[in-house]
Amino acid sequence: MTRKITFMKAINEAMDQSMERDERVILLGEDIAGGATIEHLGNEGAWGGVFGVTKGLVEKYGRERVIDTPISEMGYMGAAVGAAATGLRPVPELMFNDFIGFCFDTLLAQGSKMRYMFGGKARIPLTVRTCHGAGASAAAQHSGSYYGLLGSIPGIKVVVPSNAYDAKGLLNAAIEDDNIVMFFEDKTLYGIKEEVPEEYYTVEIGKAKVKKTGTDLTIVTIGKMLYVALEVAEKLETDGVNVEVIDLVTVAPWDQETIINSVKKTGRLIIIDEANPHNNTATDISSVVADKGFDYLDGPIKCICAPNTPVPFASNLEKLYIPNADKVFDLAHELIADLKKS
């Protein structure tokens, strides 16, 4: 396995292979092909999405399956719910997760509740792709991280891949899933290149991944925060501190077992989450460990999140906004102070 492709291409490949395997899979979104009905383009896409993630798919599957929509998020996202409830497997794209406010009812009150309200008689095999994250100077309305907000809704699954391999496998798994899966892509990861198998495969939704085993401190991360943790772990290694790094992968429902088992071993927990600090996934993990894992804890649980502010535009402020290795390092030092003394 030596082929390296970008995070973006891995996602593209998942859609491609899923569409090839199953005719019921269709894509919907604003300019995901681009240039609908423009004569000189025909089936050629003008854009392939604002970042190019869906590039090439309209050429292969045609405009019946790669459907450009007007700017009508409630309309086409709700249509995706309706199409899913009646047997298709739609994969709509919400261009930025910050636009969630334009189609929120569809997810909060319609799609996620249908099966329950209908006494188990509905299936909503719907995968919503969207992108999140600060770091692209996209300012307050295009840089938020709302996976935790979506993760609070019963009936919705939420995944946040940190790398190209997982991205491809999780997206395939999401499209195979008979539930609403929100698939969050960190826009600042699109360019990273990694080894990704060419064949179709899935990555299990609901399983966290231990990226580095360790005995002294557990750091749980969401999405690209993994790289912050790995950096810190490496630094601490030189101090003789052994960090276990866990990539949460699935934000809802998240993998309690893997995390509690880790804390059982390490007794110390840091969670890094780029979301705003309140009522987010980090706090959720913390609260579960503070309950079920309390007896294993040797010290306070630390959540390292974005501050309680919108995302600022100026690059220097934006850099401060995103949780970084320095902050984590400092807190980690506090936690392991006793360890170093002994």
């Binding site: 309309g75 199409a83 009150a109």
Partner: protein, 322 residues
């Protein structure tokens, strides 16, 4: 398009009576306290649901509203299961977990009553997209109220259906009010039908108390849709017999003018007379349908009353599909 014939007429008359009896009884029982929650009754508007659904099969879809009992019955939902649902019983169409505002039966093409005003538009568009994508000639009917027409979903949904030429028929039940707010206040346009121009699709207004008119207009629009000619807006002028929900004093209804005119009409009575006069029904047949309907509803109530409440574990079930 199927013509209104004896078979259709009997079916329609039966469903009209079922709806009216169902709602009158729910009204009665609600007052006694045996039914909890919010209940919005469809009584008075029977000509719309039945006149439209008479053209549909189980393979056609509808989306409904908070005032959904009539649509459910016209789309063929089981009366026992419906009544049990409203009572919150295990035998309900949704196992008692949905209630009046969420009755659904996807196998019958009934995509759910909806507690969210305007929630049905996008869902109907999605079902329409599905029908077109799968190259079926099935249609989708999206029922909505005059009040719902002011939600953004109306605009987004109809625009999508229009640009994609989807087989979706948007049927507005204009009963003059959204809760206590008159349509004349809430919509800048005099009619909902005229909004068709904003989507370059036909928009027609019909007397929603006149079954034959509803039946004919709906039939034409559904035919158009089946042929791939895209959506239509049909505005049916109608009136609800009861308050917005059970308990509403209805101070807002005037005792004269358009309101009195509407209140004085009974679409079932009108259709009975009309159908008998034009020999679509005999008087005996009509009487028989009426009597059977009363019995069917009584049976449904008994079924609901005698059904068990949900098992406690049901609370946790049906959140995710495996």
């Amino acid at each position: 398009m199927s013509k209104l014939d004896k078979k259709n007429a009997a079916w329609i008359y039966e469903k009209m009576n079922d709806i009216r009896n169902f709602e009158d009884e729910v009204h009665r029982i609600f007052t006694s306290g045996e039914i909890p929650g919010f209940v919005h009754l469809y009584a008075g508007e029977e000509a719309v649901a039945t006149g439209v659904c008479a053209h549909l099969t189980d393979a056609d879809y509808i989306t409904s509203t908070h005032r959904g009992h009539g649509h459910c019955i016209a789309k063929g939902c089981d009366l026992n299961g419906m009544m049990a649902e409203i009572f919150g019983k295990e035998t309900g169409l949704c196992k008692g977990k949905g209630g009046s505002m969420h009755i659904a039966d996807i196998d019958k093409g009934m995509l759910g009553a909806n507690g969210m005003v305007g929630g049905g538009f996008p869902i109907a568009v999605g079902a329409g997209l599905r029908n077109k994508y799968l190259k079926t000639d099935n249609v989708v009917v999206c029922f909505f109220g005059d009040g719902a027409a002011n939600e953004g979903t109306f605009h987004e949904g109809i625009n999508l259906a229009a640009i994609w030429k989807l087989p979706v028929i948007f049927v507005c039940e204009n009963n003059l009010f959204a809760e206590a707010t008159p349509q004349s206040y809430s919509s800048a346009s005099k009619t909902i039908a005229q909004r068709g121009i904003a989507y370059d699709i036909p928009g027609v207004s019909v007397d929603g108390m006149d079954l034959k008119e509803v039946y004919k207009t709906a039939g034409e629009a559904i035919d158009r849709a089946r042929k791939g000619d895209g959506p239509t807006i049909i505005e049916c002028l109608t009136y609800r017999k009861y308050g917005h929900f059970e308990g509403d004093e209805q101070k807002y209804k005037a005792k004269e003018g358009l309101e009195k005119e509407r209140a004085d009409l009974d679409c079932i009575q009108l259709f009975r007379e009309e159908a008998i006069a034009s020999k679509l029904l005999t008087k005996e047949q009509a009487d028989g349908i009426e009597a059977n309907s009363v019995k069917a509803i009584a049976k449904a109530i008994q079924f609901a009353q005698e059904s068990p409440i949900p098992r406690p574990e049901a609370l946790y079930e049906d959140v995710y599909a495996d």
